[in-house]
Assembly symmetry: C2
Homo-oligomer: 425 residues x 2
């Protein structure tokens, strides 16, 4: 064992075959194809947590699932503790509808392999290590993202869980109770900042920067914020043949102009870096021969600049209202979710950079376009993020792909960085 101050070069064994088995095991849990559908607070998400829990218990870790549905495995130190503080790693196991096999899962599988490596490898550790699966990270079901990690950070109150509702009208509180969780007790899931030394999440990049530059790992400096709106347009349904053009109040024409306005504003040079997407749209009655009298669509606004993120949202809502009014339709806008961008602490990133350098890997500092649990965890524990490459930059689709070798390489950096945290004073 080296001294606390020396750099630890891990010789522990990170094995691709075990990583591949874990990825395949989780991918088998899907509601329907194509791709993986394992939604936030669904029975299949719980089943995935149970598999994680079983594996960690068999390895000798103590495991529990909190009221928020986060599953946490703890490994005791092998040496006298330095200061009783905890270091952690992990990610999430839920998916968007028809998503991929790697978003979130890669980070959980990396955490599981790190746990196996340190338990079986028998290296000395001076701190408590926690391996965490956060619940309900994806915002696809309830609009709000990072739910389990928000609860850990004390950002969500029990009362709010009734007003977060999915497309079928099921509230988050009801969904949680249906899978045996306790929405009234989520305050008990909160983490204590004083206990934590640091946290590192491995995740797929979900962009094409690493792949296009043939770089093995990314080290995240900033995580984008996101503001999510649900927009409802009300016009007047009527017969497509009998209703003259000038008397129409077509909700879809209004919604279409809003979609184009979103695309135009996000492409404006002064919004460079803002991304705006309408991912969901529904019209009613939805008949070929009836003018749509009602339309509803989601708007997802992402930015690394907190101020610009909110100004874009305001600008969009004002533009939507102008469009609706000009087209003689009514508009309602509901705020579904709002998360600020987060600048991650440089000293944690420095440990990741040093670990990559020690292992002789190419790395690059880059921002994250997607939201991550790390954004929330960073309020409690200084947090870093390691990205591994995404083929063609695709994510949230069945084609999402990162090779076992790429995940294993990222996992080696993760383990080395965690060992550095373990050894730090």
């Amino acid at each position: 064992m080296t001294s606390n101050h020396d750099v630890v070069i891990p010789t522990l064994d990170i094995r691709g075959d075990r990583i591949a088995d874990d990825i395949a095991g989780f991918a088998a849990l899907s509601e329907s194809g194509p791709g993986v559908t394992r939604l936030a607070y669904s029975p299949l998400e719980r089943e995935a947590h149970r598999i994680f829990s079983d594996r960690m218990q068999k390895l000798g870790l103590s495991v529990h699932t909190d009221a928020a549905g986060n599953t946490i495995a703890e490994l005791a130190p092998t040496e006298p503790e330095t200061d009783g503080r905890i270091i952690g790693t992990g990610s999430h196991l839920d998916s968007v509808p028809h998503g991929g096999r790697f978003d979130g899962i890669a980070g959980v599988v990396a955490a599981m392999e790190v746990a196996r490596a340190v338990v079986r490898g028998g290296g000395a550790r001076r701190r408590r290590w926690r391996f965490v699966v956060f619940a309900a990270e994806e915002g696809a079901r309830f609009g709000q993202a990072c739910n389990g990690s928000r609860m850990v950070a004390g950002l969500t109150r029990s009362a709010e869980l009734d007003s977060l509702v999915d497309a079928a009208g099921v509230s988050m509180a009801v969904a949680m109770r249906e899978v045996g969780l306790d929405p009234a007790a989520i305050a008990s899931s909160r983490w204590n900042s004083d206990e934590w030394l640091g946290f590192i999440e491995l995740h797929i990049e979900q962009g094409a920067v690493l792949e296009s530059r043939e770089i093995e790992v990314g080290v995240v400096d900033v995580i984008s914020g996101s503001t999510r709106l649900l927009v409802t347009v009300r016009g007047q349904a009527s017969h497509t043949g009998g209703t003259p053009m000038h008397l129409r109040r077509d909700a879809l024409v209004t919604a279409s102009e809003c979609v184009l306005a979103s695309d135009r504003i996000a492409n404006n040079p002064e919004h460079h870096g803002t991304r705006v997407t309408v991912g969901r749209i529904e019209v009613r009655p939805g008949s070929i021969t009836t003018i749509p009298g009602w339309a509803e669509f989601s708007v997802d606004i992402r930015d690394v600049d907190s101020d610009r993120q909110r100004r874009t949202a305001e600008e969009l809502v004002a533009e939507f209202e102008r469009i609706a009014s000009r087209r003689n339709t009514d508009l309602d806008v509901e705020l579904m979710g709002d998360t600020s961008p987060v600048v991650l602490p440089v000293w944690v990133a420095d440990h990741i950079v040093a670990a990559a350098a020690e292992l002789g890997m190419r790395y690059r500092i880059l921002p994250s376009g997607a939201s991550h649990d790390s954004q929330q965890v960073n309020r409690i524990a200084p947090t870093g993020m390691i990205f591994v490459p995404s083929r063609d930059g695709l994510s949230h689709v069945p084609e999402e792909f990162t090779s076992v070798e790429q995940i294993a390489a990222g996992t080696r950096v993760l383990l080395a960085a965690l060992m550095r945290l373990d050894a730090s004073v």
Copy 2:
């Protein structure tokens, strides 16, 4: 009985209470609310035909349902036949999803009341009278409208019934077989033009001309044609946060620009009278946090000018292709249905006008924006149409409304006009 050449003023009793009962009876047959959902070739449409059939049989008419699902009740003449030719009236009993209680139904109920009036009133008739319920008039389910009447006119071949498919992937042939009809035998449903003297359909206006001018009946001179397209856009689904704006291939942004192009082209002054509507749109995967990689929408183009109708369709397809190409997405256009506008014969309209004038009712000659079975029947039998007012011009919605008094007034004109046809040489 007057002579064949004199005007017949009917004194036969048209009763609002019976009309109201029939309207309520059919309105009770609906899949789900709001409004009436009784789709083409569904079990509920068949149930409605059965009610019509029962009522007509109890009245002493001979009734049969043909292979296409049209239900036809025949009343023999009371006097020696003039020339053995047939006069007819009727409409349809299917609806769009969440449509109203009157579209089609008003004309069937008027036909039922005419049958009761002449059977119970005991007036003399020199011709065979047919009361017809056409199957599957609404194009909302399969794209193609006026299916039963098209088969009567020999416009649809059995082989085509496999390629007309609803949103759930069920072909018209399968739907017909499921409700006990015989798609292979539809040629046997064809009418013989030599047998027919004339046909008159009563229908709600589905526009606001009659109501805004306080006119009791409309006499249709031209019925709009319609061209229906199914447009599919293929882009690339990916993560809304991870994918920069300039790398996107967003199928919904392309589709939205197509919706706006449709609205703009139809509102162009040189297209005065053309109506273009996108009534259905669907995106996949349909998640808040995934860029839509796929979108599909319907386009309904209506015109009273046959040439302009087809030029508009071509102009739209060319514009859609430009938009898709500029946005780096792929586009497929499928022709779902195509029906030409029809100019109805003046001599039948003249009988309706004369009947209205005799009864002291205000009437107006006007075009029909909607498609009707009359468009197809006119290929076999010289056809006229009587419109009754639609409140606020609304149709294909639960709010669709025409009062019992308004339907009864139209039914009196219908009966008088049929008596004039019966008496004509």
